[in-house]
């Protein structure tokens, strides 16, 4: 694949770095989310270098895998029109991972399901899509029809792949791995609420993180709950603000790839703690796909979790 030109990627918008009580906080925007890197201890130069690297890595992943960008690998596949394309190692790793998640979830997790969104507008309105339109889109969904033999990928015409379901969590883990290879300072990477820490803070204490959407039921949905995190990651699926309300039925934005309709009885959001952000993200997504059975399923997985209904 040809390297992206700087013009296509655009200049890096600046990040901000500020000192807090005992740590450095770098803020930047990427992947349509506010991103934060906390560096516990160290000097401003080291913190600045780490934030710059974190931002560059998140943007690299965003540019490479965004389905909205002309230069992304996804755009490249769609343009191939049924011809086999050779993919690089990193992309192949993500496709292998997606294939394993498809198998693990019995087909519920499917990176070819993105086309279904064309029928739905989760804007809080009461407008349901035309059933025929949904059926036509479902015919273009199904990971088993994608021919994937590392490193060769052949996408049947009309189908699209979308790695957005794992991209942010993957980016969080990647950024942490990259920065931990450079620095021994305790780190927290937070990409729009999907976050991962390198370990406890410098003084051995846990990080305190606020997670939107897992507040007690009786508080406002925007309120954040405070959690202590010593190691591992947290990821949240679901968005209480994205739904369609029709005839008293609330349709959340998680779509079942098998019929193209929102999963019934899905919680508003699920937050899961796991060793890596990628695992936490997958577990929270799969929990959402269980619909009304989300809590029972999470209980079986024996992972720490918070469900908001």
């Amino acid at each position: 694949m040809a390297p992206q030109s700087l013009a296509a990627a655009g200049p890096n918008p600046p990040f901000t770095l500020q000192a807090t009580a005992s740590s450095w906080r770098g803020d930047f925007a990427a992947m349509a989310s506010p991103c934060v890197l906390l560096v516990d201890g160290g000097g401003p130069d080291e913190a600045r270098a780490l934030v710059a690297q974190a931002q560059a890595e998140v943007q690299r992943i965003e540019h490479k895998f965004s389905r909205y960008r002309a230069g992304s690998v996804l755009a490249h596949w769609q343009a191939a029109q049924g011809e086999p394309v050779q993919v690089d190692d990193e992309t192949a790793g993500l496709l292998d991972f997606a294939a394993q998640c498809h198998a693990l979830s019995g087909g519920l997790f499917d990176i070819s399901s993105g086309v279904l969104r064309a029928a739905w507008r989760f804007d809080g309105s009461s407008q349901l899509p035309d059933a025929g339109h949904v059926r036509a889109l479902v015919a273009r969904v199904g990971w088993p029809r994608v021919q994937w033999h590392r490193p060769w990928l052949r996408l049947p015409p009309g189908m699209e792949l979308d790695l957005g379901g794992i991209g942010k969590e993957y980016a969080a883990d990647r950024v942490l791995g990259l920065l931990m290879a450079q620095s021994t300072l305790p780190l927290l990477v937070n990409l729009g609420g999907d976050l991962v820490v390198s370990g406890p803070r410098a003084d051995g204490s846990a990080w305190t993180v606020g997670i939107e959407g897992i507040a007690p039921v009786d508080s406002s949905p925007a309120a954040a709950a405070l959690l202590s995190l010593r190691a591992g990651a947290l990821a949240t699926s679901g968005d209480a603000r994205r739904f369609v309300l029709s005839d008293g039925v609330r349709y959340g934005h998680i779509l079942d790839p098998r019929d193209g309709w929102p999963v019934r009885g899905a919680p508003r959001s699920v937050t899961v703690a796991a060793p890596t952000c990628t695992e936490a993200g997958l577990l929270s997504t799969l929990a959402m796909l269980q619909g009304a059975g989300a809590e029972a399923w999470l209980g079986e997985q024996a992972v720490p979790h918070w469900v908001l209904r």
Binding site: G42, G43, E46, E57, D89, E90, G93, D96, F97, Q100, C101, L104, Y170, D173, R174, G177, L178, A181, Q182, S183, T184, L185, V196, V197, S198, P200, A202, D203, G204, A206, T208, A215, A225, L226, L227, S228, L229, R230, A231, G232, A233, L234, A273, A274, P275, T276, T278, E279, L282, L283, E295, L298, G299, Q301, A302, V303, P304, H305, W306, V307
Partner: protein, 472 residues
């Protein structure tokens, strides 16, 4: 609302604390097989090699450097050993490693002779210097001096999806000893990477070229000899030709190592190795001798000193069992090793390390090692005239004999600690201090005057090491 610990939250069955690094290890119940598979898939996705490959900067070299100083008590051996090594893992998860070791050894080393109630004079093996040991002291050869240069290279790469191949080569050169070894190993992951089986084969060829030639077998040797040239008797070209290697001697070694590494749970990693090795060729130490003493007085008699002799093959078996326990923060490393060989040596070694995290990346790691071994069948403090050695015919009545303290029965303790401190940008500084004490088992049946002398002095040694590692 504040949840003080994530594990206390509703629905939490297992803690997230310290879950990092243990992915793939949460296979405790059948219900968590999805999590285990997911953890394995994630581990593959986030493989460290891939992280390095996709970053804009090229893969880095990790450079480790250290200087070790080992000093034995009583003016005995001192070793100064600088080591520098570098490792690099590229985007295809291939690792290249290089290591250079320099050794400078000086000091005095036991020559194997028994102490006597009078002073003893020896000629060095090269014949160009003499040294005298005071009455009642264990004879030490003060000319112990050597330099060693060793270069090792390793290559590691994935082989298929669940296997890793490793190749290594090692060359080592001393004044009187050259060694070349090659090894190849294959490791295979099973059970979602919770089990790793490995098999390693190694071959080594050694060349011994001692000063004054390499005698094999028990041969008379003249102490304080005048103008004997080689310092050893029997240099005439007689029927012992096939027993002597003036041009040097050689030895080959083959080893096979079978290992199993098992993740027991997310706090406990266990490793077991079984090793079998066989060496053939010359095993004698060209600088070690034995005293020939009278069976009733214990005084030197007849040929006085003979060179030592060891069997021309050795088969070794070792079983190693290691446990790494990851506590909330600290790490305990406990291992046990059993060793036996067909020379009759049986050894047990217990090793305990406790890594205490002090916060901010600092750590202190106390270390305790206990070792106990039995003697080789042919290990003895001296030869008795008329029993082990017959001076009138210059023949031995035993096939092999050695007074090397390393082949004798002893117990040893090591007590020490290592301190580590992170430096900026991934560097680390370490310092290690260790004390070693080796207590030989008393020799039974000492005749006459030997009974009153200290035959088996305790060896004490101190090791200081300073290390610095950094990404390059």
């Amino acid at each position: 609302m504040q949840l003080t610990a994530i594990t206390s939250a509703p629905g939490a069955a297992t803690g997230a604390s310290d879950a990092r690094g243990a992915s793939g290890a949460s296979l405790v119940s059948a219900a968590s097989s999805l999590r285990a598979t997911l953890a394995a898939a994630t581990a593959a996705l986030l493989a460290p090699g891939l992280v390095a490959a996709q970053t804009t900067s090229a893969a880095q070299w990790q450079v480790d450097s250290a200087v070790l100083v080992y000093q034995e008590g009583g003016g005995r051996v001192r070793a100064v050993e600088p080591v520098i090594s570098a490792r690099r893992t590229d985007g295809n998860d291939r690792t290249v490693g290089l290591k250079l070791t320099l050794d400078a050894l000086t000091g005095a080393s036991p020559n194997g002779a028994a102490p006597q109630p009078t002073a003893q004079t020896f000629t060095s093996p090269s014949g160009d210097s003499r040294y005298t040991t005071p009455a009642g002291k264990s004879p030490l050869d003060p000319n112990f001096r050597d330099r060693r240069v060793a270069l090792a290279g390793t290559l590691e790469r994935p082989w298929g999806t669940a296997q890793r191949l490793s190749l290594a080569a090692n060359v080592s050169s001393e004044t009187d000893f050259k060694s070349l070894s090659l090894s190849a190993g294959l490791a295979r992951d099973f059970n979602q990477k919770n089990t790793t089986l490995s098999l390693t084969l190694a071959l080594e060829a050694d060349r011994i070229e001692a000063q004054g030639g390499v005698p094999t077998g028990l041969r008379p040797l003249r102490a304080g000899g005048d103008g004997d040239g080689g310092g050893r008797g029997g240099d005439d070209d007689d029927d012992r030709d096939d027993d002597e290697h003036e041009g040097g001697a050689s030895r080959t070694v083959a080893d096979v190592l079978l290992g199993v590494t098992q993740v027991i749970n997310r706090h406990w990693l266990m490793q077991t190795n079984i090793g079998y090795g066989r060496s053939s060729g010359n095993h004698d130490d060209p600088y070690k001798i034995l005293s020939v003493v009278d069976g009733s007085t214990g005084l030197l008699v007849g040929d006085r000193y003979v060179s030592e002799s060891r069997p021309d093959s050795r088969s070794r078996l070792s079983v190693y069992w290691q446990n790494k326990l990851h506590l909330t923060q600290d790490v305990v490393d406990l291992s046990y090793r059993f060793y036996r060989d067909d020379w009759g040596v049986r050894a047990h070694t217990l090793d305990l390390r406790y890594r205490l995290e002090l916060g901010a990346g600092l750590y202190l790691e106390p270390h305790l090692r206990l070792h106990q071994q039995s003697k080789a069948d042919f290990s003895q403090g001296w030869l008795v005239e008329g029993q082990g050695w017959n001076s009138s015919t210059q023949t031995a009545n035993v096939a092999n004999a050695s007074a090397d303290p390393r082949l004798a029965a002893f117990t040893a303790q090591t007590l020490g600690a290592k301190f580590g401190m992170p430096l900026g940008r991934g560097g680390e500084l370490t310092a290690r201090l260790e004390f070693y004490r080796q207590t030989p088992k008393a020799l039974a049946g000492a005749p006459g005057a030997l009974r009153t002398l200290e035959l088996t002095p305790t060896l004490k040694a101190t090791t200081v090491m300073l290390g610095y590692s950094l990404p390059w």
